[in-house]
Symmetry: D3
């Protein structure tokens, strides 16, 4: 079976793919005929495809996010590859394929990631901090298993958010060793909590964000997470105006650093400054790493990366 990343112009191929998007359109011939405008994907990438001569049954058979077996031909359209589908059918249990094999995922398993997050949470020495963190994590425990960290910006894949957290925890552990004046409990808590409301801010399935929730649009994940701390503190009977509660809320509120990047306050405690740079470093380097991975090795330049000021990344020949 051919991976999408390997398909080239003029290839005839057959294989299993995920119908990531499917739209029924009409040709402008008279009478107009229906066709499918499709995006096929697997874990290696995605490709647009057309299926002409759609029957009424087809329209009731194929839907987005379903697995299909496709036999097709790779053509070129507007300098891009595009598949002309000759035959297509739904996957049956006998095919023995699973949706999760066809989507991009974090390099580590969700279980592994969640375990790491819990291990770090358990290592927080201040009990009050630990309980506040636990309360918030519990709210999204299930979604943390599969949510991406963003719609397109970075870590936009299955379990991307948990992966982002785990990688940041690694940086956090290092930086606390390098600069012992930082409070390690706050760094750990800040990393786990900074994007904790994202699973409620965005609506995602299989690591793909389709939209923002009403709450996400009206409040934003930063204010949502600050609210959760309030909720957690009330739940556990912790003084709302204690420096500890203020500190955690401050770290969350300020982690985008500048107002124009979405933070209502600038970082004003050491751990908030640290968190912002740990977050940036991990997000930006992941964008670079992912872009390189999705670009065929024969290409010297990746596509432009929006999160890097629309610059492409170059592979040096050393």
């Amino acid at each position: 079976m051919t991976l999408i990343k390997q398909l080239q112009a003029q290839d005839e191929f057959m294989g299993f793919y995920l119908l990531k998007e499917l739209e029924v359109k009409q040709t402008n011939s008279t009478p107009a005929k229906d066709y499918f405008d499709i995006v096929l994907c697997d874990a290696s990438g995605q490709l647009s495809a057309k299926f002409w001569d759609v029957s009424p049954t087809d329209k009731e058979t194929f839907f987005p996010m379903g697995l299909v077996k496709v036999q097709g031909l790779v053509q070129t359209y507007r300098e891009k590859l595009q598949v002309k589908i000759n035959r297509i059918r739904k996957v049956t249990p006998e095919d023995g394929v699973a949706v999760k094999d066809f989507i991009r995922s974090a390099p580590l398993s969700p279980d592994n990631l969640i375990q790491t997050i819990h291990r770090v949470m358990d290592s927080i020495t201040n009990d009050t901090i630990k309980r506040l963190v636990a309360f918030c994590v519990e709210k999204v425990e299930e979604k943390l298993q599969h949510y991406p960290a963003a719609k397109t910006h970075h870590h936009a894949y299955f379990a991307g958010l948990a992966y982002h957290i785990v990688r940041m925890l690694e940086i956090g552990e290092f930086i606390c060793k390098q600069r012992p004046f930082l409070n390690e409990d706050l760094i750990k808590a800040g990393i786990i909590l900074h994007d904790i409301a994202k699973p409620e801010e965005m609506i995602a399935q299989l690591g793909i964000v389709s939209d923002y929730s009403v709450q996400g649009k009206l409040l934003g994940h930063i204010s949502m997470a600050a609210n959760w701390i309030t909720e957690a503190a009330i739940h556990h009977g912790i003084e709302l105006q204690s420096d500890l509660v203020l500190g955690l809320q401050h770290i969350i509120l300020s982690h985008h650093n500048l107002p124009e990047w979405g933070s209502p306050v600038l970082p004003q405690i050491p751990e908030a400054v640290a968190l912002h740079y740990i977050d940036s470093m991990d997000a930006k380097l992941q964008m670079v790493e992912d872009a390189l991975e999705l670009t065929p090795e024969t290409e010297p330049w990746t596509p432009m990366i929006r999160g890097l000021e629309n610059k492409a990344i170059y592979r040096l020949n050393l």
Copy 2:
């Protein structure tokens, strides 16, 4: 007794004033001598003053925010008026003067303002909204009697915040009549709540802000008020994710309109759009009105007003 606004160069005068600021300084003569660098004020304005030849007793007698009787001479220094104090003593009960007569205040009495706010609160038809608003107002009930609305920007005087709210309520009432598609309950609630956390964000006495609180710096009044809604909803058992709670939090979070003005989200419900413009209109016009009032009528231009892009206001001769 002469009002500060009326004093002119070369005037000899005597009267009661408030010691708004007092600093002990040393002359650079040898040996250095102590003197007081003072700001005297009454409700009509303020003036800097010097009291040379300070005795050790004086240093233990006079402090900022105390009332004094002063006999002095008005001089000119760097093109500004300045008082040379000849005699100064503390006010005694027999003098029959009260601090509140010497500070700038809202044109309406605190009681009157608070009553109006309560009356409007009572007129909110949606009970849940009413209870959420009441919970937040109760938190600052006492401070609302005297807090200013800002450090220097606008309504920076005794009961300035309550006055700002009451005037906005008048605009709100008008605009709801003009545009019935607006939800009047939300407009009322938004106006009362939008700056409700300011008394906890700032540290003020007699209508004068001396600093921001730790909480004010780390969270800001916008996020603080959003938290209070969470607290209020939990207290009253209201669903945290109901549109009503989200809506109120959204109105508060978005009322500065743009991120660079401090709002983490832009207005996305009609009442949030309305609130931003009601707030701006009242704040800006009050700045203009106050600047004109504090400027002698013989001056065609007020001083520059920071909140109006550092422009001065001109009195047209029509």
Copy 3:
């Protein structure tokens, strides 16, 4: 007859509509065939449509801004509704329909609006101001009956400009009562004059702006209106450098507030500050109200609104 706003996918329908846009295009079949790419509208909204198999006669029969009777089918194209026209013919006098019934209009009649504007003009107590205002209004008297206030931004419909003025006059009346230090004559004059040159800045028909005039591009409506004041003052023999003339010109020049929004000077008299906020409040709230009205009530979100920083407006469920 079905309103455009009510049409749904798969509907077959017949009715009268306005051909808001019409372009002859060619299919890419060989030989290429002509078809019409059309925008149909009525007062409730607009919809794109295709008419395939266009005959040479058709091309000489149908033109933009003509009324037609259409029989068609609603299809879906790229997730949007689109009409496939089966039959189309021009309207005849017998059909008894008029263009004005098919376009969006201010909720009040032009006559009503113009009368209100004249009534307010007459109420200006300062005769010089009254004459200056009258001179400028007279220049665009006829166009004020139907011009929109902007190309797309706000009040972009038949008599939108007059409606914007009238609603601002209501706010102006309120604010002058609330803050008597404002000069009511200047507020009235400023409101009537601030956009008075727009009918010469833009080229519009039936409330729809097709382009800006040469004068509009080279000078802009703000400088044009300032020029008109000069003209009016010369006409009436009023001193060009009187505070009254300067004041009116200043209000006009500064009403966009910031240079980057098009004002060469910042507001520096109280009425100029007031006018800017009266204008903003009315324009922004009208954008919100119009967007909600054009959005089917089943949709919780309006489309994005350019004048509100590209945000959509949400209907809360209270």
Copy 4:
């Protein structure tokens, strides 16, 4: 007699100077004594000075912009030179000195400059343009003899505005030869008119701006000049909406190029684009030339120049 530019620390000197600024201040000794805080200047530069022990007669004798004979000593204060005045008296007719010899002036005489401007005006071939230009020039004919081009930015000296115009005319003549598609009449007119309202925007004496006029603040010289064109056209019976009138107004309105630099419209005719760059080039290079001239040749760096983004200019050693 020693030029101010030549004075050095510890010099004792005597000479005639202009009292550019004079303020009566009080020492903080008790009793306080009056002294003069003075700025002395001549055409080579300026220096601050103190005159201690001022008598009541002195206060009625010395005023800003008067000529004086001074005997003094050069001291250092805060790393800057400062004169301690030992003796000072007013100039008498017998001294045979004139104010104009003590101020900075354009390198060419006002007569010479005005003649050039008139000669160029006469060379305009289009009679209508010529008459419009003449009308505006006539308004400020007298002030053009001595007004500076700006408060501090550039050409801030006696006849600086006329000098700026004349030098721009030289560039204009060159550029019209180099690029014959430019309309030379418009270039000439644009150069003469672009800052023509500055003498009414600013209040100046002897080439020194003390303030902006009310008109200057409320309208700005750009809109004022646009108004003058309207006035001129009405005066000469020229069609206000002719391309010629629009074109001239457009050139004036757009010559600051960007809104944030004060232009309500961007350049949209070739001559407007040209004018902006002719103006910038002359202003910026004059700032550089003047800064170098006022800096002692032994100094490698000039002071920072506000109009050049606060950069200093370096003298290369080639």
Copy 5:
């Protein structure tokens, strides 16, 4: 033979053109058919064209940048002209046409331009400067014959860069005469060197830039040229830290003036200030001149010009 600029809707025509762009596309009929999506150009302009029914031989015959003879029909598509090609063949030697006649070129011949540049180089009096300039020019001597000055911004045609340099040298000569304090050698050198690395920054053929080089993207032409000066100085044994080397590097580095326009340092010597304005004036006026030339004289407005803040240029009717 008809020039492209002269073609009008419905014209049938035959002539020689350059295939500026050619892409093979497929129709969405079933089975899909190949067609050519083409851009035809000659020196007067360019036009898109379609050639339906492409044969396999055609696909091996026609390539971008080849000359062809075309017989076709001018149609309208989306309000723009578009050619329907009926017959097309490659040019043969017998046709006697050359590619260079079909592309836009500077108005002066490359030889002429290069000679002027060399003549000015020879006139540099400081030998060290002359040698540094010569070293850099030699690097791109050949490419200077035909490279454009930019991808689309300005002087985007055959020998556009050399033409830009020559025209700037004319301005430079004038300004040095007008302001003798400028060092003419530095002005000449700065003009010749400021964009000297552009031929290595961009990849161009026949005056058309297809992409930026790796070096161009990673360093940019400004830093590249600064490096070349280092190289030249080492080559000629000139002290790298001499003011002369620093000065030349500074002029190059600062010639975009502001950091956001690409200059790492602001101009800090007189010649660097001058160079920036000489460069801007020439580039902007050339944009205007070229836009007018490419716009049919019947059109009052040119298309929008990106380098002029997206404004169009208007032809006044004087």
Copy 6:
């Protein structure tokens, strides 16, 4: 002996200090008397001081950067501490104190830091990179022993630059382990070279920058370092256009990330992206750490930190 950080109002004290700044000023008494306006410092901080009644001998005895023994009294002036010096004398050899004990220094010894840098340089596996790095380091080998990393921004103390490099190398080592796709040689080289030209950009003594060099102002350390790579490559006969040379120059040029922060190009290779964030993280956290260290532990807030958007840092009470 009392550390400056420990001095409090009213303290009488005696001790050794460094005269960091000294200016001779005059009182405004008549006759004016000289006094010293002084900044005293030791490694714990600095304090301003006055020495009245300066004798002519004193003026020839005391100079900035000299060590002195002082007996004085701590007073309060404008809410800040200030020393009144009663007696002062120069340090003699017998006092046994050394300048270096009185200045702020990196926490590690210069030798230690330089050794680490050399060790990492030696560990670079690519010989060409190693030789390019060595060439540049050699240029500033001596100054690297003591130069600060900036004038005031961060690491502004003795050996601050070397310390910054060493700490970044620690982060670099970690991040290369965490993300093996990064080229460790480039990361090491980039860290060592990114600020390598700072010792030639700034003029510093004892870790205190007094000014920028001419070269520093005209080129900036970023372009200077890029030039050094060119020089190094020529010296070692390495191809100037090899990806390796381009890559190193690119990392240096882009390390400030955005043009407005001084980088002419944006990061476009993975190591350039990484370097920017390693640099930011180290600089910002050091600012925080230093500010906390210089602030008495009793103070909850540090002074405002310019490099952190003028925010102060708060010590949470957990």
